[in-house]
Symmetry: C2
DNA sequence: TTGTAGGCGTTATCAG
DNA sequence: CTGATAACGCCTACAA
């Protein structure tokens, strides 16, 4: 049904080796021969079968991306896009492996279904444990980390400093006069204890540090990370004795709708309440949210390039094994000095 | 370096055929033998090489997803997640092909690099032309459509009725008394003329129909679909003689931040302005946006299941070739009768 | 229930 | 620059 390399060879009047070379090493073939082969291929609607060549070369041209969240989360979707941008042209496919429960996690590392079936692994935003790292490395392929720890578990890695970033943006609030600040956190649910996500913990830590430095008592509101984060957050905020003058959100995806809802209830932002987020998702700039910028798409693309170098044996091109990106705060209209200053 | 099936066979004291069967057809192997093989495999850290078995069977276990937008757009990320949810457990990887320019598009269909290299193609939210359809089908694999036309170009397809949905939600505004409604559209830019996206066109059409039926002059604002949609929209709105009493947005991703910004400028929603969107992204419920619900994740999963049936030759299980989903409007707090009614 | 052996389509080696 | 041929690792008749 599908024409193979032999059919093309026959039609072009050359050997199959020449056909193969025409596509894999065009420079080794006389251009006249090349033309014959190419037009024969076109006539027969022939393309090289990746499965066959991949099998022959021993590579798989598949990359695994490991994560414990939905592939459609802002962070993952951006990472995926960055990876794909680099890997796709190089002929690699990316398989997204979602590991939700610690049970799934255990099974995954136990059986390692990707062994021999991927050329590299990208671990995105989770911390792998002391015994999982060697397990991954036993596959003998590059293991890359994006916002993942511990760094020394990876062939290459890139991350932002969640602690520092949240500390800095909290300091910003403190600098302009806020002392009544609430941090809204998504703590680990029982289901996710010991699970992969850790940025949350680090960001809370950064908030606490900034408060401690300023001798402020850190107020932290815990809400479940589900579809009702805004309702939960509002409920807990309204339950306080008084509204804080500033709110620090774990993520923009909470801060953005929270802004809308607070305004709906008559709170002016930033006059009555300042609010900051974390991530700099597209909406943040549109609604004027002060936040910490990160660019997961670029992180994905960067890591993909490094991994590609490793796969091509160009290890010397990977000058940086572990890159820690600087925190960038983006100041927009959602923060201002507290009104109480005017008293 | 990596142990192959022969090593396992040797260690387990069986033939390679038995090892192969242990993994592919466990029921054909005596459980005692199976145990030997499994433990030998575990000892040698062996897994079946997908590349090799895939090659042998002639399948590729890769699925192509074609689209003309970023893979990280809400719609695409959701579709991908739905597809992956079904395809991943079945052993298929999904490769996302982004076709941005009509030049890329032409090249893609000309060379069809995925020929022989994918087992199925998923075409998401674009219309393929009369000559592209047969080209795709010449690959002899299932071609599936999600929000794509023409329906008869696909082996299976699923879509929502963009025209009807936008018509209905516009009617809702009209029913509660609005006659001064603006539709904010992202028309085709010169770059994307003849390109893949068509929902935009259909939604605008639905709006116009509803207006026509009510003998209202449709007011349509065109803005470029870039990173500044909210600014662009606001600018054009403020440029009107007067604010409309209701705004119809092409997508929630415009409506959500627009709500925030309008509130910031003192407009009360829904008292001063009603606003509706389209998609029902996560934020829509959080900020209380009346909108048209669609669930691309589910659409992806549904199509993936149908495609899987086709791939398994279970054609009889695919009872519905082309499914048109009902439009569902979700009424939330962003719409109310216009104030002018009170006059 | 298990073993033998041929073949899947390509690439790489080596000779010409 | 081109051709012949041996792998690559697994799967599946078919035979035992």
């Amino acid at each position: 049904m599908q024409n193979n390399i032999e059919d093309v060879a026959k039609l072009a009047g050359v050997s199959i080796a020449t056909v193969s070379r025409t596509f894999k090493h065009p420079d080794l073939v006389a251009s006249k021969t090349k033309n014959k082969v190419v037009s024969a291929a076109k006539e027969l609607d022939f393309s090289i079968s990746r499965s066959a060549s991949v099998f022959q070369t021993g590579q798989t041209y598949r990359i695994a991306m490991l994560n414990n969240d939905r592939s459609s989360s802002w962070f993952n979707a951006e990472i995926y896009e960055g990876l794909n941008q680099v890997f796709q042209p190089a002929g690699y496919d990316i398989a997204f492996y979602q590991i939700l429960s610690s049970n799934e996690r255990h099974k995954f590392f136990e059986n390692l279904p990707i062994r021999r079936n991927v050329d590299a692994v990208i671990v995105a935003s989770f911390n792998i444990s002391r015994d999982e790292a060697p397990r991954l490395h036993s596959m003998n392929v590059p293991i890359a980390g994006i916002n993942a720890i511990p760094e020394d578990a990876f062939s290459v890695s890139i991350s932002i400093d969640d602690v520092e970033a949240m500390q800095l943006i909290t300091k910003h609030l403190i600098s302009i006069g806020h002392r009544d600040i609430v941090f809204i956190d998504f703590p680990s649910s029982p289901k996710t204890v010991g699970m992969l996500h850790f940025s949350a913990t680090l960001r809370a830590k950064g908030f606490k540090r900034a408060c401690k430095d300023a001798r402020i008592n850190p107020v932290i509101i815990d809400i479940p990370n589900d579809d009702h984060i805004v309702d939960s957050a509002l409920a807990k905020l309204f339950a306080l004795d008084h509204m804080p003058t500033a709110i620090c959100c774990q993520q923009d995806s909470l801060a953005v709708p929270l802004m809308t809802c607070l305004r709906q209830f008559g709170y002016r932002i930033p006059e009555d309440i300042s609010i900051v987020g974390f991530d700099d998702i597209g909406y943040a700039s549109q609604v004027g949210l002060t936040t910490v910028h990160q660019n997961p798409k670029e992180m994905g693309a960067t890591i993909a390039e490094r991994v590609l170098h490793l796969l091509n044996g160009e290890n010397e091109k990977v000058s940086v094994k572990h890159e820690m990106l600087d925190s960038q705060i983006v100041f927009r209209g959602s923060t201002a000095p507290p009104r109480t200053e005017n008293k």
